[in-house]
Symmetry: C2
Subunit: 594 residues, 2 copies
């Protein structure tokens, strides 16, 4: 039905007779001619109709925006004066001899040439996707998955599908459940990840597995979460954590090179402990030059309880961020930063402007200067390498509050003061996470998941000192986003049972939920390790958007609804009867729409 695509016409086609299919992007009548910007999936070209070709001209007269048309015409070079350098096809135009209207269009319920309200974009998704930037992001997504598959294929990974209708596993988030009709009263769960299946594939001897796969979490959604998301899922046998990281880092480098033309270089590797200490985050944005500097040892003896009490407490922390040029901040702005850290539990934000570094106490301006003597000040200035014109912000409290507050402040200062190089890329690996963290109710939860192996630790040692255990786990972080994470897995039944016990899962529950895993571990399980990338987030980074809905063709709202199809919807009562389930309470639809 066509010989060429609109967006691919150039001077090499001049004189050729072409057939094009596409949409009327815009129509203008000018000097007795009709001009159409005609759009297809490759771009836009100008088509014009001359009254000399009367049949086509008459039909063109009735064209409106978004009509779907087929034209036959001849490609011409535009006169120099009409060349449009902003269009890739701007040197040519098509003189139409014939026109077929494939379909009419009513006026669109949204403006095709601008970004509409999020609600309109989701309701008329098929129209929103006509915008070239939206279409471009999905094209880039397709290119990325194609690159990933090509990379994995060429590195010997097998693409193996795992089930979608599976058993509930406690991966931390809530499962989506699917009632069974055959086994009434029972439910499948949609997978939060193929974790156990990919481990079982290693036990089967498959050695290198990957899959690009939908995963599901029934969580209250944030702006960057969707109920269903896509994971690049990888597992290997007989490879160390370092070897897995090397392959995965190579994949990321190839993606950035192919999609962005950027060489990410070798990724630095830092420990979780170092990341929290220097950046106040386990996913530090290294484009931001600011760092947290610990000063507790310098302020142990000052007559300022806010500093000296946490400085002398094993669970306390006193740290500072030195902001270059920050002495120019107004009192109002400083108060705003103080209010900002309150969100993270910090009771206040001590600060010190370094007006003249060489002048000692006389050279600084600070509400806390009076508590510091010259030696302490000199030591702080020396350690932070503060220069005249800088400001120091201090956090002093328990470790978590100081780390969280200064970590968040670091990011905000980086953005506000344009210190973070937004046009650069800063990848890294964070490794050596704690195995467990406290759940706030006296128990422990797995920081990654309960199948993660500790670094060189026997089951007995792990059981006796679980909070000291370091997991053989790793996260890939780029520009402050965790794009992927993985670990070496437990490959001995005894270790697996020990971890379950530490997590408070008793033997009965272990059998019921993980009996198949514990059985499988009896039959020669290999050493295995793997990783999973969040594809949606990777695409967001590579297409420069912070809206996850921009990289998904048919996304859901933060209330997990599809505004286009009106899913979810009420079920047919007969269907529910077949499933032997009963709805106890219906959400008030009027509330829902608010």
């Amino acid at each position: 039905m066509r010989t060429e695509y609109c967006g691919q016409l150039d001077l090499s086609h001049v004189g050729q007779k072409v057939t094009l299919c596409g949409w009327v992007n815009r129509r203008r009548d000018l000097g007795g001619l009709i001009f159409i910007d005609m759009r297809d999936c490759t771009g836009i070209v100008q088509v014009f109709f001359d009254p000399d070709q009367q049949a086509a001209f008459d039909k063109a007269y009735d064209l409106r925006n978004e009509f779907c048309i087929q034209i036959v015409g001849t490609v011409r070079a535009r006169p120099d004066s009409q060349i449009n350098t902003e269009m890739t096809t701007g040197e040519v135009e098509v003189f139409a001899h014939a026109l077929e209207v494939i379909n009419h269009s009513e006026p669109l319920p949204l403006d095709a040439n601008q970004v509409n309200s999020e609600e309109a974009r989701l309701k008329y998704r098929y129209l929103d996707l006509r915008r070239p930037d939206m279409a471009g992001r999905l094209k880039t997504r397709s290119k990325i998955t194609s690159l990933v598959r090509h990379f994995m294929d060429s590195h010997g990974f097998l693409d193996i599908e795992t089930p979608m209708l599976t058993k509930a596993t406690p991966e931390g988030a809530r499962d989506y459940l699917v009632p069974s009709r055959v086994h009434k009263g029972k439910f499948y769960a949609l997978p939060q990840s193929p974790q156990l299946f990919k481990q079982l594939l290693m036990m089967s001897g498959f050695d290198r597995y990957y899959q690009i796969v939908k995963c599901f979490r029934d969580e209250d959604l944030r702006a960057d979460r969707q109920p269903e998301f896509t994971q690049i899922d990888v597992e290997t046998s007989f490879m160390t954590a370092e070897q897995v990281r090397e392959v995965m880092e190579k994949l990321a480098r190839e993606l950035w090179l192919e999609v962005k033309g950027v060489d990410l270089g070798r990724f630095p590797v830092i420990t979780f402990e170092e990341a929290m200490r220097r950046y106040g985050s386990d996913k530090p944005d290294l484009r931001n030059p600011l760092e947290l500097v610990d000063v507790a040892d310098l302020v142990k003896d000052v007559e300022f309880n806010v500093f000296s009490v946490p400085a002398n407490d094993a669970k306390g922390r006193v740290a500072t961020i030195c902001v270059p040029g920050g002495a120019q901040l107004t009192r109002k702005l400083i108060d705003e930063y103080s209010a900002f850290v309150n969100i993270y539990g910090a009771k206040g934000l001590a600060w010190m402007k370094v007006n003249d570094r060489s002048a000692g106490l006389a050279g600084v301006q600070s509400p806390i200067a009076k508590f510091l003597d010259a030696d302490v000040l000199a030591a702080i200035l020396a350690r932070t390498n503060a220069q005249s014109g800088d400001i120091l912000f201090f956090g002093a409290d328990n470790i978590k509050i100081v780390t969280d507050a200064l970590g968040a402040l670091r990011l905000k200062l980086g953005r506000d003061l344009a210190l973070t190089k937004l046009d650069s890329w800063a990848p890294l690996w964070v490794v050596d996470f704690p195995m467990f963290e406290e759940d706030g109710e006296g128990g422990l939860v797995a920081m990654h998941h309960p199948f993660t192996a500790p670094c060189n630790m026997a089951p007995e040692a792990l059981a006796s000192m679980p909070t000291n255990a370091i997991a053989n786990a790793y996260d890939m972080v780029i520009n402050g986003y965790e794009v992927g994470g993985g670990s070496v897995r437990i490959h001995h039944g005894e270790m697996q049972q020990t971890v379950f016990s530490i997590l408070g899962i008793n033997e009965h529950e272990q059998r019921e939920k993980f009996g198949f895993l514990l059985d499988a571990l009896k039959y020669g399980t290999p050493l295995h390790a793997g990783m999973a990338f969040g594809l949606d987030r990777l695409v967001m980074l590579l297409t420069g958007t912070d809206n996850i809905r921009d990289v998904i063709a048919f996304p859901k709202t933060t209330a997990a609804a599809c505004l286009m199809t009106d899913a979810p919807s009420f079920a047919n009562p007969a269907a529910l009867q077949e499933l032997a389930i009963n709805v106890l309470k219906k959400t008030d639809t009027s509330q829902e729409n608010e």
Copy 2:
């Protein structure tokens, strides 16, 4: 952790020091040496331990089948007398210097070297997958998906993901429902196919889409069905049915060439009408040379009501199959075929042995010969081209019964008498299906799906004579299996509403279920057409198995259960409470296990 794979060692490695990881496939003690067949994902190699290397020898002494091990050794050429031509690595062996036991194994609960009961295979799937033929099928599956993706990429198709949590659509099968926690009382449905989403992508202008995607049907399962299955899903804009078929046929040819080394050639195209008439099936196995031959016009006037009544009825059919060499069939076998066609509603199976074609009525042996005169007999023999030694089987009843019964008999005779060339490939396209078929309750159902366009028919004509309408639909059939199907889609709202009305969907229901589709059709929908392949079935054909569970890593039973993980399972009551649903009836677990 390794330098080579077991299955890849050959004479080129002789003298090299290698490190291997894998499993003990078999162990033998012979002449003071210990021999291990060591297995990894690539194959098996022989490793031997000599008492001179005492540490390794002592450890090897404790090895049992399926221990996971790492060895360091030197590759040696085997003496001529010990070359094993049945192993790809049979010309070499590895002399082990060092051995590490990565993991022990208990004796397996099934025999790793033979095919076990289906139940054991499913319960211990991770062990069943260790068998090289099972692993080989999944490797072939991975190769097939990789070939498909490469083909689609190189033909300009974009891989775009469509939602898994979506709205119930009436595609003929029962939906799996997923209760919503946020919108209590409402449900998502898992997709039976991405049909409407891919059509919407065409309306968005994406032009060429594909996806390899999980689909779901909550049907009572047969041996070749699974509740979740995988579809190669394709849609295009501005392409005719012929152009879509050409691309898809090229894909199939490439798959067969790459995987089987077979050139399928050009696929013949036959209409549904011809397929039913000549083969009694809409998915004929053309490896079978037998055909149905209509003879109603020849027997209209015979004094045998069984023939003459249907021969004179517009809804009747009289047809015959001529079986070369079939005159040798015993009376007992003929009776068995007669019983066989009863299954399809045929009341009997008339037959005629052609002992001597040249002898007229005297040359045939048949219970019905007495009803036929010489002219009728001669006409039947001429039309069927029956030769001496053949047998004719006759069906006479309404069209459906004759077609179904003789279609099934044709397949059975082809197999039983080894007439079907099982080692050959016979692809074809079946086209021009009826738009609608009767649902047996006075209504009509769509033969493909309600979004299929008729061949050149206006909405009014369709509404007035729906049962005459031919759909612009096509199925790809290979060796009697429908491997894929597709159609040109409806791209006008009026036609879509007409089809809905013919299917008995009233306007209110149309808005409620398909409002978004009817809205989308208002805004310049392009001509579009597509296709979907059943990946599981393609892999079955390409790996030579008729058990769908052999091509799926973790399949379900015909009762839709996973014997390995015990899915589905009872849900946490708190989870059900959050979903505001209540289980009315629990399946008795004791019954379930029967």
